[in-house]
Symmetry: C2
Subunit: 425 residues, 2 copies
Amino acid sequence: MATVLQSDLQTVMTRIGQDARAAAGSLALAPAAQKNEALLAGAAIFRRAVDSILEANAKDMAAATQRGLTGAMLDRLALDANRVDAMARGLEAIADQPDPVGSEIARWQRPNGLDIARIRVPLGVIGIIYESRPNVTADAGALCLKAGNAAILRCGSESFHSSHAILDVLQTGLSEAGLPNAAIQLVPTIDRAAVGMMLTMADSIDVIVPRGGRSLIERVQQESRVPVLAHLDGLCHVYVDKAADHSKAREITFNAKMRRTGICGAAETLIVDRSIAASVLPGLVDDLIEAGCELRGDEDVQALDSRVMAATDTDWTTEYLDAILSIKLVDSLDAAIDHINMYGSHHTDSIITDDDVAAERFLAEVDSAIVMHNASTQFADGGEFGMGAEIGISTGRLHARGPVGAEQLTSFKYLVRGRGQIRPA
Amino acid sequence: MATVLQSDLQTVMTRIGQDARAAAGSLALAPAAQKNEALLAGAAIFRRAVDSILEANAKDMAAATQRGLTGAMLDRLALDANRVDAMARGLEAIADQPDPVGSEIARWQRPNGLDIARIRVPLGVIGIIYESRPNVTADAGALCLKAGNAAILRCGSESFHSSHAILDVLQTGLSEAGLPNAAIQLVPTIDRAAVGMMLTMADSIDVIVPRGGRSLIERVQQESRVPVLAHLDGLCHVYVDKAADHSKAREITFNAKMRRTGICGAAETLIVDRSIAASVLPGLVDDLIEAGCELRGDEDVQALDSRVMAATDTDWTTEYLDAILSIKLVDSLDAAIDHINMYGSHHTDSIITDDDVAAERFLAEVDSAIVMHNASTQFADGGEFGMGAEIGISTGRLHARGPVGAEQLTSFKYLVRGRGQIRPA
């Protein structure tokens, strides 16, 4: 493992920042074909380098096992031939997406003849701080590259060897395409002080994207002097309106909760209109309980089904990320919208109804990044949105909201074309 | 002057935040006509309330004179019938702009039939911290309202009475249109601790916009836990390329520097291709010196004209905001671009040339919010861009860059319309 003396760490980080800034200058002007060449070269190298990547991963796995990591954490860290191939396919999918850089967002003429165009440009240098999953190294590095940004990656200590092996692949791809290695860099130490330094490198990092647990995100949001694109909670709701189709309500709720319970788009609270609770809930509850889901309801829900345990106030604000669902009855669409806006995390919420007026009110009035009608909240995903890949899902309102794909990793500039115009007094 | 006990200030600020959040909920759903009604009612009331506004302003002016404020600062603070009418016209111009809220930015269908629309929504609550100009109260309040945002305004202590009189007008307009007064609030104290509290009210303020001198902006950027849209420096360049039309170069440079020297779009450095310096500089220098502009050049410029004083290294990084211009010769377009990207503030830079290839390279390679060809940098202005009004010019790269008008004060959300889709495993 690369070790860096604490006293030298600031020097190392400063150099990484300067190299990234310089690389960002080249990347901003690199044509789409050249960036895609680097991505496709990387994909090909991934397929040739499976053995060396798995060898590096074995070191991480051995160290993690020794430190007593649990099953789920080990599973996140583990790579196999399929997962390496998935990284290769990820690079190919990103290469296949349209290049956002240089595209014209708007263009208009002023009465004085000035021609004003607003075009997409890269953000610059993006710092990504993440925890154990080694594939983030490939996904995040590739997505930043696609949008013409230099990336400074800071992986979790558990995936240190795996991430370095993946970085080697990406950098070889960059070299083959004639792009600077510093386009994608990895902080060469597991010293946590490096994270604090990244958060204050406002001159050389334009935006920080933290990916990990709540404590990481909160630390970053508290300490960062660099703007942050963060995903905090995904406390998603399914609301079954009184005009809901019962079988859609049953299927969508089951999928929204149980397809995968650990992702941010998983539903955590089910809200049901009181007038149809007695008819829609039994089948729905059967499905969930059969699948091993724990249900926690308000008194009215418990009265309908004794298998439902009592919910407390904290249940309405808890992102379980597990096979647990809180259930609440309401008297109206308004009450459902109020509950979601008050207790939700403004991430993804869905209404099940055949009443289009109710659906449009829900879509307009629920203040979340993604608001759905008759669809599972588990579609909250950059790939499912057609973005090819995402670096995360932003729960902030500034710059990016919802899935953050290549387009969301760009800024813009104005080109003003004149023929000698001066501004009158 | 309203006084608030220090111990009560946190309570007051918390209440302001909660009221703003509630008002933002109403504003987000208010139709364009209702917001415009409030703006037009405000404009009409401004015209009826001139006397009371000038009376309040007289109190501020008397206090400022007593504290020994200088001419330029007094001028910023002073209101007269014309300036009050300008605020009324500002509200009318903002009412006249298209409403950004609810407009569809993009819409597409997924292969599984999901219909995804991205539509503009308000940002929420915007905190504006500004210095002496009282008209910011009207401009910023109105622009936030147009974009469906609640505004928490914190005026400079000098304009406290004027700003409150202006707030009364805006709030009467809100009431006449049936909108909550809390849509536009003014912090009711000059206690500077209120600024610090605003910067940490991340639950109730979504974005902070500081408007003022460098020390204010730097304090906000250092302390804020709320995202900031800030305008730092406007170190703008005019580059006279070797293929420049001499008379355009002369007129544009003069306008870019001298039309108004105190605005952020004023040019601070002139870069001239060495091969045409001897032919283009003399007339240009004559104009500027006749108009009272001090010129500071590198050795080569001084050799051409003895009236030019010596520039030091700090001149290339100084935003004079005054009748001073630094001048430098370069050997190539590349050298000009390098100088601008290294020393500039990424605000607004212009190339003067009849060579379209050189112009397009400059537009592509200069990394500034606004890059111009054959036009004066003083066009860097929301009104001149056709945005109707601006709350400032952002020098950041995230969310907004360049003039910040109503559209830049919005976020977006995704509406996903399905017919029962669930996500496959």
